[in-house]
């Protein structure tokens, strides 16, 4: 149904004649409830204009014909095949906007609520909406696809051809991709992040959020931590290409240490760590929280000391300005004391020499 058709359908659905037909001719309580729900749901939608009309028409259609698939604009899809449709669209590089809108408009949930036979559980779909609204790596439409199709392999262009369908295979595939020159900078793209986040619950929100950080050091370390986790959990023990890739990119992670000596020490020791080809060891070497705390504390102290040196220089200037006044008086007092001592000494010596004492 095109836009004009949808507008006309919506006009009819909102007319009094439709309501009369619904109540007098159809007279099906469940269908009437469904249509009422479609009218009520309209206000929930966040979209405006034509998309809102399309969603309204799709809901009324679902209410009138519950067993039929979801019909949204040009899309006709069964509620339980949205994930597969997404995966297919992703693989083929097709436009996914209709599928995305279908999820965002919660049409599958509405469809589930209208079914006369059985009671499909649509609660997991609510979670998908939250994932879809989140645009960070590890979330979004990619994550929705992996959530909806549990056996879906990772669709990242880096590893798609190697059919990585478990996290255990991910690191090996990435290693081959790096060694083959397919990856030159960031090995964790949106698909890899979403795939790993879906399969590995230990990868937390903080780590995924850090992948999007403006700070290159935080980004490098988050990527490294994710891959180090995979290596520690599944292996392989040695990943030379990936280790060298991080070795080339870890400069910001070293640069974030404020102390020049610490940076030099880390830079000098890096080659030895890289030789071990172990991401976990590299992550521990670069992301040492104790070292960071120590560095931050020492930097804070250095700043305080620098401020105190400014105060000391100011005092020197002040002392220099007041030098003449301060030393003039002190010097004259000193001359009085010296004169008394020397005069007394001369008198005593004179008396001694002259034999009076």
């Amino acid at each position: 149904m095109d836009r004009t058709g949808e507008e006309s359908a919506a006009r009819v659905m909102r007319s009094l004649a439709f309501e009369i037909w619904l109540t007098r001719t159809l007279a099906d309580r469940k269908i009437m409830d469904g249509v009422s729900a479609a009218f009520a749901t309209r206000a929930d939608s966040t979209v405006r204009g034509p998309a809102q009309t399309s969603q309204f028409v799709a809901r009324v259609q679902m209410a009138l014909d519950p067993p039929a698939p979801i019909r949204y604009r040009g899309l006709k899809i069964a509620a339980d095949s949205i994930g597969y449709a997404l995966a297919t669209a992703m693989l083929a590089g097709h436009d996914m906007s209709l599928l995305t809108e279908t999820i965002q408009a919660r049409l599958a949930q509405f469809w589930g609520g209208r079914q006369l036979r059985g009671n499909p559980d649509t609660r997991p779909l609510e979670r998908l909406n939250r994932l879809l609204d989140d645009t960070r790596p590890g979330y979004g439409i990619e994550r929705v696809a992996y959530e909806l199709v549990p056996g879906l392999h990772c669709l990242s262009p880096f590893v798609e051809q190697r059919y990585v369908d478990t996290p255990a295979d991910m690191l090996g595939a990435l290693e081959l991709a790096v060694a083959g020159g397919a990856i030159e900078s960031w090995p964790v793209d949106r698909h890899v992040a979403a795939f790993v986040a879906n399969r590995e619950r230990a990868i937390d929100d903080g780590m995924l959020a850090a992948l999007l950080s403006q700070d290159p050091a935080v980004r490098v370390l988050a990527t490294l931590q994710i891959l180090a986790y995979l290596q520690e959990t599944y292996g392989p023990h040695s990943v030379p290409a990936l280790t060298n890739l991080f070795g080339r990119q870890c400069k910001p992670a070293i640069e974030r240490f404020r102390n020049r000596h610490t940076r030099a020490r880390l830079q000098n020791g890096l080659a030895a760590v890289l030789k071990e080809n172990n991401l976990k060891k590299l992550a521990l070497y670069l992301d040492n929280s104790e070292e960071q705390k120590k560095d931050a504390l020492r930097f804070h102290r250095a700043r305080i000391e620098f401020q105190s040196t400014l105060g000391r220089i100011e005092k020197c200037d002040k002392d220099e300005e007041e030098l003449e006044a301060a030393t003039g008086e002190a010097g004259r007092s000193l001359s009085v004391r010296l004169a008394s001592v020397i005069g007394g000494a001369i008198a005593v010596v004179s008396l001694l020499v002259m034999g009076f004492l």
Binding site: R258, N259, R260, H261, F299, H300, A302, R303, I304, E305, F306, Q307, T309, R312, I313, C316, D319, E320, L323, E324, A326, T327, G328, E329, A330, G331, R332, S333, L334, S335, V336, L338, A339, S340, I342, G343, G344, A345, I346, A347, S350, L351, V353, M354, F356
Partner: protein, 164 residues
């Protein structure tokens, strides 16, 4: 009730206060009386001292400071250098001729006025020497602080300059 003694302190630096002017005048009076008494009873010594103490008198005239520091510097040295000659007169040949004889002797004059000259020089040089010493200390301190600043910047970069 016990009365606490008022602590005695030097008058403030600067021009003559009323009190110090009074003290100065009293000193003048006492000196004049002393010299008159000395002229009456010991004329030769009075002659010697009236010449020998010219630098002290000059210091008394030119010193307008509240603490009379010039006078207090020159006078002890001047007196100390005049004392041996006064004692020579007292215990030796105590005559005006002898006093005049001493006063025309250039070595005696050098000894009499040398002490006073040293006092004048001490008064002039002590503040300058002290200023030079303190200035050098300040400069050393400043150099040390600047060196530490440079060390901190070298170790932590320019961000260390920002106040925490």
């Amino acid at each position: 009730m016990a009365r606490h003694p008022v602590p005695q302190s030097d008058p403030p630096a600067g021009g003559l206060t009323e009190r110090s002017q009074r003290v100065k005048n009293s000193m003048l009076l006492l000196s004049v009386l002393g010299m008159v008494a000395l002229a009456i009873f010991e004329q030769p010594i009075a002659i010697l001292l009236s010449v020998a103490l010219i630098p002290t008198m000059a210091a008394w005239i030119v010193d307008d400071g509240a603490r009379q520091q010039l006078l207090r510097t020159v006078a002890p040295l001047n007196f100390a250098c005049a004392l041996p000659f006064a004692l020579q007169l007292w215990y030796g040949k105590n005559s005006s001729d002898r006093a005049l004889q001493l006063l025309v002797n250039p070595y005696v004059l050098l000894a009499l006025f040398g002490g006073a000259l040293f006092g004048w020089m001490l008064y002039w040089a002590a503040p300058r020497i002290m200023a030079a010493v303190v200035a050098r200390r300040i400069e050393r301190q400043r150099r040390h602080v600047l060196q530490r600043q440079a060390q901190l910047i070298d170790e932590w970069g320019d961000e260390v300059k920002i106040a925490p």
